[in-house]
Amino acid sequence: MSETVLNLNDTQQPRNETRESKGLWADAFNRIVRSKSSLIGLIIVAIFLLVALVAPVIAPYDPINDSDLVKRLEEPSGQHIMGRDSQGRDIFSRLIYGSRISVQIGVISVSFALILGVSLGAAAGYYGRWLDGIIMRAMDILLAFPSVLLAIAITAVLGPELRNAMIAIGVVYTPHFARIVRSTVLSVKAAEYIEAARSIGCSDLRIIMRHVLPNCIAPIIVQTTLSVGTAILDAAALSFLGLGAQPPTPEWGAMLSDGRSYIQKAPHVMIFPGMAIMFVVLGFNLLGDGLRDALDPRLKQ
């Protein structure tokens, strides 16, 4: 009970945004660095983003064109530290380029979900009534399906392509954002500073953008971080099933799927992509959890 009260007090008080958010972010960063698990998450995510950024510089071979059928399934060696895959391509280089695709998937599909979810959630919460009913019931329907199943259905209809997999994942993640935003909007809608803004003639759009949405930045950031990790995982799952990236794209899930045929003869073909997926998802999850703790207003003091 006391917790709820604390929460309400916190959100209902109008804030001096610039000063307070500076403190908020610095605080949050300190907390993340202090916690061991979230620090590991931050490091993994940072390495992952860096690798994706400089992929062409650090990859020793071309991920697609340096194939050599004669040397296929070669075991890891000095020249090919992760060995070669079934087409004789360097697995290490493919993983490095694959990180770019994973970043792309994570960013695009989650941005899609973010934009769509925030607008829908804000509209539902702010205008209420029948619009709220329609939007949130639609979101409930989407949430009722297991996420991967829904994504499979969407890609099955749109066709097996990486772009469609991203759309599917975006759609699947939209309701989570819509729910978070709607609940925050509902809690501040009746606050005095909103009424004040309205009385001096601010438009609805300005009120939502400048006065309502800043209140839900923290939970959105946490949700975004966690979503990027699971989006990468879901996209890998879709590609594994043949519904996402098509060969010869060096997507991790597709690489894992290709390597599956050689699990007995050349296990390195599937071990490395599997580990890459695991570490990145782990990184995003640790960072997301850390952020959640760091941005929790209850821990402010």
């Binding site: 087409q87 199943l149 259905a153 209809v157 098509q246 060969p247």
Partner: protein, 537 residues
């Protein structure tokens, strides 16, 4: 449009859910069944795809024909180790002097599994259903009928019931491969009563005269058949056969090693050594009578240009593909016909691997910088192509080296075949396993212009050449095999020059089975009846 997509999405979800529920239930009943009859000899056979239908006349894929061959008998059959014909439901046959009439004597006292007697009326009923588009039971595309007998009603003008056990076929012209055609598994005799009873649903309620009876079919899981104790010939040695679908090649091998299945086809070439090294398993090789090829849709630009097609032929490195993806168990192809068949033209030079020549030809054709296209790869392992996706990628690389940017496209197996028959593809990986040991079965079905009908095309290059068609038709009507061979040799020269395909390989498909399985003679046609197969305890 959007609403429709949404509806489709919901249907897909519903289907997936039903599938999940359905498969749980299915396994339960199967377990109970095997508990109940502990002494049954059950032979479990696994392959990568499910049957597309169980009405033999309306299917063309090995997955379906493997099952229907157990349930149905044909009028004639092949010898166990060759494609010579021997009596089956017909015991004697006679050709008229002008070659246009065939009179067949039928076996007496044969009954379909539903009790309907087999006689001349039943034979006529089947043929009328296949060949007459106005027949009320003509439901389906009857692709094999139109392919082997040139359309509806095609070569068979009439089927006459002479007496209860004698039937006469009246042809419009002499047809050399007529008897060999009748022995094809697809021309199995169905019970007329069952066809009348089930109508459009006959494909999932098949009734024949064969050594096994249909029990049940759980889509994408398994097909079960059981021994027919009233079979007219030698009775089956196993009590039940379960045809399981296990899409993944390595998962299938793991099940074989674990002992949950007795035999499998579609072995990863990389696993051949694993099977040889396992003392509980045996490796059998099916005699090669197949071709794996890359069809080029001649209705699509720029594949309508012969120079482009020749360039693609020069660009593909067949030997590298064979070494990598067939474990060496294949020969590079230069003709559509496999070398084991009579009529094979060894003088055709074909196209050696020469990327420079390919580039030069592309430049001549007006594509010095190549072009963009799609390369379709099958989703399932085939005898003639055990790893289509990998082979597709290797070809994609070969094409990239000469500047052609090919995007790999794939669909589920049934859709893949349907879209191919409709001609929606550009480059299309496909293959063929001979049905009757006659060159006609390869060349006419795969390359004649009459087989380019959208929706049931066997000629998926949509190759229409009048000279080739004339040669193939003439060969069909000639009864002297030496003369026919000459005609086929000429046709192969033209086909090679026009290059509607990249002929890739002729493979020797491996079969892996437990050592306890005996009496299995892999037939060159790609499927065989399991009547003499036995399983030691």
């Amino acid at each position: 449009m959007k609403a429709r997509k949404l509806v489709v999405a919901f249907l897909v979800i519903a289907a997936l859910m039903v599938n999940i529920v359905g498969c749980g239930g299915g396994k339960e009943t199967e377990n109970k069944a095997s508990e109940g009859k502990g002494n049954d000899k059950v032979f479990v056979f696994a392959r990568s795809g499910d049957a597309s239908g169980l009405d033999p006349i309306n299917v063309t894929d090995g997955e379906s024909l493997y099952v229907t061959q157990q349930i149905f008998d044909t009028l004639l059959d092949y010898e166990e180790d060759s494609t010579e014909v021997k009596p089956a439901l017909a015991t004697e046959w006679e050709n008229s002097k002008d070659g246009k009439e065939w009179t067949l004597k039928l076996r007496k006292d044969v009954k379909f599994h539903d009790g309907t007697p087999f006689n001349a009326e039943a034979v006529k009923f089947n043929f009328d259903r296949w060949r007459d588009e106005k027949n009320p039971y003509h439901q389906g595309d009857f692709a094999y009928y139109t392919a082997m007998f040139s359309g509806f009603p095609g070569v068979i003008k009439d089927v006459v019931v002479v007496d209860e056990y004698t039937v006469k076929f009246v042809l419009t012209k002499p047809m050399a491969p007529f008897l060999a055609n009748l022995a094809m598994a697809t021309f199995g005799m169905s019970s007329p009563e069952a066809i009348k009873k089930y109508g459009e649903d006959y494909f999932k309620n098949p009734v024949g005269t064969g050594p096994f009876k249909f029990v049940k079919w759980e889509k994408d899981q398994q097909v079960v058949v059981e021994k027919n104790p009233e079979y007219w010939g030698q009775k089956a040695k196993v009590d039940r056969i379960v045809f399981r679908t296990i899409p993944d090649n390595s998962a299938r091998l793991l099940e074989l090693k674990a002992g949950t299945i007795d035999a499998m086809i579609g072995l990863n070439p990389d696993d051949i050594q694993t099977v040889k090294d396992d003392s509980n398993l045996q490796l059998m090789l099916r005699p090669s009578m197949n071709v794996g090829y890359l069809a080029m849709n001649m209705e699509k630009k720029p594949l309508d240009n012969v120079k482009v097609r020749q360039a693609i032929n020069y660009a593909v490195n067949k030997q590298a593909i064979i070494d990598a993806f067939y474990g060496g168990l294949a020969k590079p192809a230069k003709n559509p016909l496999p070398p084991s068949l009579w009529g094979y033209n060894d003088n055709v030079k074909g196209y050696e691997y020469d990327p420079a020549k390919a580039k030069a030809l592309l430049a001549e054709a007006g594509f010095p910088n190549g072009f963009k296209t799609t390369l379709w790869a099958m989703p399932v392992a085939r005898d003639y192509m055990p790893q289509p996706k990998e082979i597709g990628q290797a070809i994609q690389q070969d094409l990239a080296k000469v500047g052609i940017d090919a995007k790999i496209v794939t669909y589920d197996w049934t859709t893949y075949i349907q879209k191919g028959e409709k001609g929606e593809h550009d480059l299309y990986l496909f293959g063929w396993t001979g049905d009757n040991g006659d060159p006609d079965n390869f060349l006419f079905y795969l390359l004649d212009k009459t087989n380019t009908v959208k929706g049931s095309a066997g000629n998926v290059s949509f190759y229409r050449d009048d000279r080739v068609s004339a040669l193939l038709t003439e060969a069909q009507q000639e009864s002297d095999q030496a003369k026919r061979a000459k005609l086929y040799e000429q046709a192969q020269v033209l086909v090679s020059e026009h290059a509607p395909w990249v002929p890739l390989v002729h493979s020797t498909p491996p079969i892996a089975a437990k050592k306890s399985i005996t009496g299995w003679l892999p037939h060159a046609t790609g499927t065989e009846c399991f009547v003499s197969l036995d399983k030691a305890e």
